[in-house]
Amino acid sequence: MLRFVLRRLALLVPVLVGLSILLFAWVRALPGDPARALLGQRATPEGIARVNELYGFNEPVLQQYLLYVKALLNGDFGRSIQTGQPVLESFFEKFPATVELGMSALLLAIVVGVPLGYYAARHQGRFIDTAIVSGSLLGVVTPVFFLAILLKLVFAQWLGWLPTSFRQDARIDATHITNFYVLDGLMTQEWDAAWNAMVHLALPAIALGTIPLAIIVRITRASVAEVMHEDYVRTAESKGLSPAVISRRHILRNALLPVTTTIGLQAGLLFAGAVLTETVFAFNGVGQYLFSAISQRDYPVLQGYILFIALIYALINLAVDVGYGIIDPRVRVS
C-alpha cells in the first residue's frame, strides 16, 4: 500500500512539472496584454510599456519561467497583477469558501442520495422507484446555472426565505480565523455568525449539489440492485440472517464501493460547477476569482491557482484510490 502511494506521488511530480510549463506557456499565449487589463480604458502605449517593464513581461519567456520556478521553490507564488495581493494569501482566503461550498454540496448529495438510491433499489419497479429514478434523471440534465437562477427566483425573490449573495451577512461582526466561516463561527462560539454562514450556504449548496446528488442516487441504486442478486446475499438469506444484518453487512458494504469512487470523482468535478454557482450567488470563492483572472490575464494568479487545484485534485483521487483499496481488498492485489 505504501509503495502504491509513493508510486502515485512520484507520478504526480512529472504531471505537475509538465503542468507548470504548459500553464506558463499557455497563459502567455493568450492574446491580450495584462498591462492593458491592468490600466483599463486609461491605458496609453507609454503606460503599457512601463508596466510591462516593471513586471518583467519583456524578458524572454524562458528566463521568466526560470525566475518563476526559483521563486516557487522558495514558496513564493508571486503577486496578482491586478491587486498586488500575494497569490498564496488570496488563495487561502478564497479556497476555504469554495471548499465550504463544495463540501456542503457533497454532504447534501451523500446524505440525501445514498438513502434515496438504496430505498429505490429495495423497491425496484414500484412507483416510488420510478419517481426517484425520474427525479434523479432530471437532476442530471438540469444545467447548474439554470437551477441556480430558478432557486434564487423561487426561494429568495418570491418566498424571501434565504439570502442570495455573500457568505455571511455584511451586518454581522464575525471573527474570521480559518476563513471557513461556519467553522470560524463555531470556534469563536459566535453562534449567530456560524448559523448565518450556514444559511448563506443553503441555496448555493443545493444548486451545486443537485447533479452529484442525482448521480449518487443512480449509482447507489444500480449498485445495490446488483449486489442484492449476488450469490452471497442469497446465501445469507438462506442462512436465515436478519434482513438488517444482510443490508448492513452484505449489501451496503459491497454496494458502497462504486459509490465511494463516484463521490471522489464528484469532488473534482464540483469545481467547474462552483464557477457558475459562485457567479450567480456572488459567493466569493476560487471559481469566480479564477474566471476573472483569465479574462484579466492575471498570469501569477492563473498559474498559482491552477497548480494548486491540480495538486489537490490529484491528492483527492489518490485518497479515493487508497480508500477504495482499504474497503475492497481485491483491488490491493494489483
Binding site: R50, T83, E93, S165, A170, S295
Partner: protein, 545 residues
C-alpha cells in the same frame, strides 16, 4: 410605504412613514440623535488599495472619499469645485501661483494636525514619488495632471514648482506652466490630504509593491467623517464614524463596503435587504426594484456614450458615410431601449455642465431617408461593417452594451447597411482591439469625467492620433493642445466651443447619450446625496427609523 423617485443630483428625502422591513439595522442610537446603525453599500469590485494617491479605480475612490478630504471638494450635486479643507483660494493673473487659506482646527484621524505643513508634505510626496510608482498603474492621476516628477523618465517635465507655507493656515502652490483645471483637479481623491505621521510610519513609496504596504491595507489616515477600521480582503471594508470630525459628524456608526461583481446580483442584494445600497444598477432592474419598494436614484450624468468609427477602414474614411451613420441613429430610441431613466441625449462629446458645451453644433437629426441617400452618394449602400461591442461589462456610461448594440444595429440595417457583430470581453480583449489596434470598424465606447474639465473629455478622445479613430487631423490636435495651455476657464470657453463644432463637422464618432448611472437603496435609507463625479460622502446617510 416609501415613495420612490428618480432624482438627479439631489438628496433623497423620504416620507417619514418609511417602514423598515429589517430589524437588524444594528445598534440603536439614542432617540433624536444621530440614527446610528450600519450602512452597507455594494460596489462592483474591491478597492485596489487604500492609499488613493496610488489609485485610479472608482472603488478605491469610493472608500477614500469617506476617509480622506482634499483641499477642494465639489458643490453638492455638481461637478463644480467648492471649498473643503481649503476655505478659499486665489489665482495669480498668469495662472501660475495659487494661494490657499486652510480650515483651522482640523486633525487627521491619528491626531496629527492638518495644517500648511501637512499640505506641503503631500505635494512634495507626490512630486518625489520614486520611479517604481510613477507608472500608470499607481500614481496615474498625479502623473497625468502634473505631467512629471522630480526624478525618473519624466524628470523636469512636471508643472509643479513648489509649495510654500505661510503660517499654519496659508499655503502657496507654484506651477511652472498654467493649468486651468488645477483647482477642479484637486477634488480628485488621488490628490486628497493624508496624514504625514501615518505616511511616514506605515507607507513606503519605494516598496516593491505599494499595494500591500501597511499603510495601503491597514492604516489609511485622513481627515474625513469616517475612520478606517478594517479591510478583510475579498470580503469587506469597514469604516467607523469619526466623532471628532471638524464638520458635521456622520449619522451612522459603521459603514461597510462590499463588492458584488454582477449587476443583477447587486440589484437582488438590495431587494433582499442584504445591502442598504448599491451602485451601477442595470436599466432592466430599475422598475422591478421600484415595484418592490426600493428607492432608485440617478446621478446627474457626467458621462458620454458614443459610437466610434475607425477611419482606417473603408468606407468609414468617407465623411458622407459617417454622416449617413449619424443620421441613421435614433438616439431617443437607443436611450429608451438600453439606458437608464435620467439619461440625456448627447450632441457634444461632453455633458452640458462642462466648459465648451454648445448647442450650436451640427446635430445630424434622425433621418433614415437622408442616411440612405448619403450612403448611395458614397456608393456604400449595402456595405458590410464590423461592429465591435464589449460583453460582460457594465460601465457607468454603458450599462448594457449588448442592448445598445442591438438597437443600433437594427437602425443601421434599416438604412441599408449590413452589420457584422464582433463581441469581446471588455478588458483587455475589447480594449486591446478597439483602442490598441486598427482591427475594428464601428465600436461602442464612452467616458466618465473625473472632474470638471473640458480636456478630460474631448482632449482624451481627439487630442492625438489614435488607433481608436484612426484619423490624423493636425488642426484639431493643435487646437486642443492650445486650449489646454490657456490659464483660465473663461478664456478656454470660446476655443472649446469651436472645437466641439469642428468635431461635430468632422464626425469621428457619433455622441449618443449622457447615460445616468443608477443607484438603488433599501426603503429605510435617507440622506444619500448623489454627485455627477461620484463625490459622494456618506456622512448624511441614515439607516432605519
Amino acid at each position: 410605504m416609501a415613495t420612490t423617485a428618480v432624482l438627479a443630483g439631489a438628496a433623497l428625502l423620504l416620507s417619514s412613514c418609511a417602514e423598515s422591513e429589517r430589524g437588524n439595522g444594528g445598534e440603536e442610537g439614542t432617540e433624536g440623535e444621530a440614527g446610528g446603525g450600519t450602512f452597507v453599500f455594494a460596489g462592483a469590485a474591491e478597492p485596489e488599495l487604500l492609499d488613493p494617491a496610488f489609485a485610479s479605480d472608482g472603488e478605491t475612490f469610493r472608500v477614500a472619499r469617506q476617509i480622506f478630504e482634499g483641499l477642494v471638494g465639489t458643490e453638492p450635486g455638481t461637478a463644480d469645485p467648492a471649498p473643503l479643507l481649503a476655505k478659499e483660494w486665489t489665482v495669480s493673473e498668469d495662472g501660475l501661483t495659487y494661494d490657499f487659506t486652510l480650515e483651522t482646527g482640523v486633525k487627521f484621524h491619528d491626531g496629527t494636525d492638518f495644517n500648511a505643513e501637512a499640505v506641503c508634505f503631500n505635494f512634495d510626496r507626490w512630486y518625489n514619488f520614486p520611479e517604481g510608482v510613477q507608472s500608470d498603474d499607481f500614481a496615474y492621476y498625479y502623473g497625468k495632471l502634473f505631467r512629471g516628477f522630480a526624478e525618473g523618465p519624466k524628470a523636469g517635465e512636471g508643472i509643479y514648482e513648489s509649495c510654500t507655507t505661510d503660517g499654519d493656515d496659508k499655503v502657496q502652490i507654484q506651477l511652472n506652466s498654467p493649468f486651468a483645471g488645477f483647482v477642479a483637479a484637486l477634488s480628485l481623491p488621488a490628490l486628497s490630504m493624508q496624514s504625514p505621521t501615518a505616511l511616514q510610519e506605515y507607507q513606503d513609496d519605494a516598496a516593491s509593491n505599494v499595494n500591500t504596504t501597511d499603510y495601503s491595507t491597514k492604516h489609511p489616515t485622513g481627515t474625513g467623517p469616517f475612520k478606517f477600521e478594517s479591510w478583510e480582503r475579498g470580503n469587506q471594508v469597514t469604516l467607523s464614524r469619526n466623532d471628532d470630525y471638524w464638520g458635521e459628524v456622520a449619522k451612522v456608526d459603521t459603514v461597510r463596503v462590499v463588492a458584488i461583481e454582477d449587476a443583477k446580483a447587486r440589484a437582488t442584494a438590495v431587494q433582499q435587504g442584504e445591502v442598504d445600497g448599491a451602485d451601477l444598477i442595470g436599466p432592466a432592474d430599475l422598475q422591478p426594484l421600484e415595484d418592490a419598494g426600493m428607492q432608485i436614484m440617478a446621478r446627474e450624468p457626467f458621462t458620454v456614450l458614443y459610437l466610434g468609427m475607425n477611419q482606417k477602414t473603408k468606407p468609414l474614411n468617407d465623411i458622407k458615410v459617417r454622416q449617413a451613420i449619424a443620421h441613421a441613429i435614433d438616439k431617443e430610441e437607443v436611450a429608451a431601449a438600453s439606458l437608464p431613466e435620467g439619461s440625456e441625449i448627447a450632441i457634444n462629446f461632453m455633458p452640458q455642465s462642462v466648459t465648451g458645451w454648445t448647442d450650436d453644433v451640427t446635430t445630424y437629426d434622425y433621418d433614415p431617408e437622408k442616411a440612405k441617400r448619403l450612403l448611395q452618394e458614397a456608393g456604400a449602400d449595402g456595405t458590410t461593417l464590423e461592429f465591435n461591442y464589449p460583453t460582460d461589462v457594465s460601465r457607468p456610461y454603458m450599462p448594457s452594451p449588448a442592448d445598445t448594440f442591438n438597437v443600433l444595429r437594427s437602425q443601421l440595417e434599416a438604412v441599408g447597411l449590413k452589420i457584422k457583430p464582433v463581441a469581446d470581453v471588455w478588458s483587455p480583449d475589447y480594449l486591446d482591439k478597439v483602442t490598441g489596434s486598427a482591427d475594428h470598424g464601428l465600436h461602442l465606447l464612452g467616458w466618465t469625467g473625473d472632474y470638471n474639465d473640458s480636456d478630460n473629455f474631448v482632449g482624451v478622445f481627439f487630442g492625438t492620433q489614435t488607433d481608436e479613430f484612426g484619423f490624423d487631423n493636425k488642426e484639431l490636435f493643435d487646437k486642443l493642445a492650445q486650449a489646454r495651455g490657456i490659464p483660465t476657464v473663461e478664456e478656454q470657453t470660446p476655443l472649446y466651443e469651436e472645437i466641439n463644432q469642428d468635431v461635430a463637422e468632422f464626425v469621428p464618432a457619433v455622441p449618443i447619450a449622457h447615460p445616468a448611472p443608477s443607484l438603488a437603496f433599501g426603503p429605510d435609507v435617507t440622506g444619500y446625496q448623489t454627485s455627477p463625479v461620484n463625490d459622494e460622502v456618506w456622512s448624511s446617510v441614515t439607516v432605519g427609523d
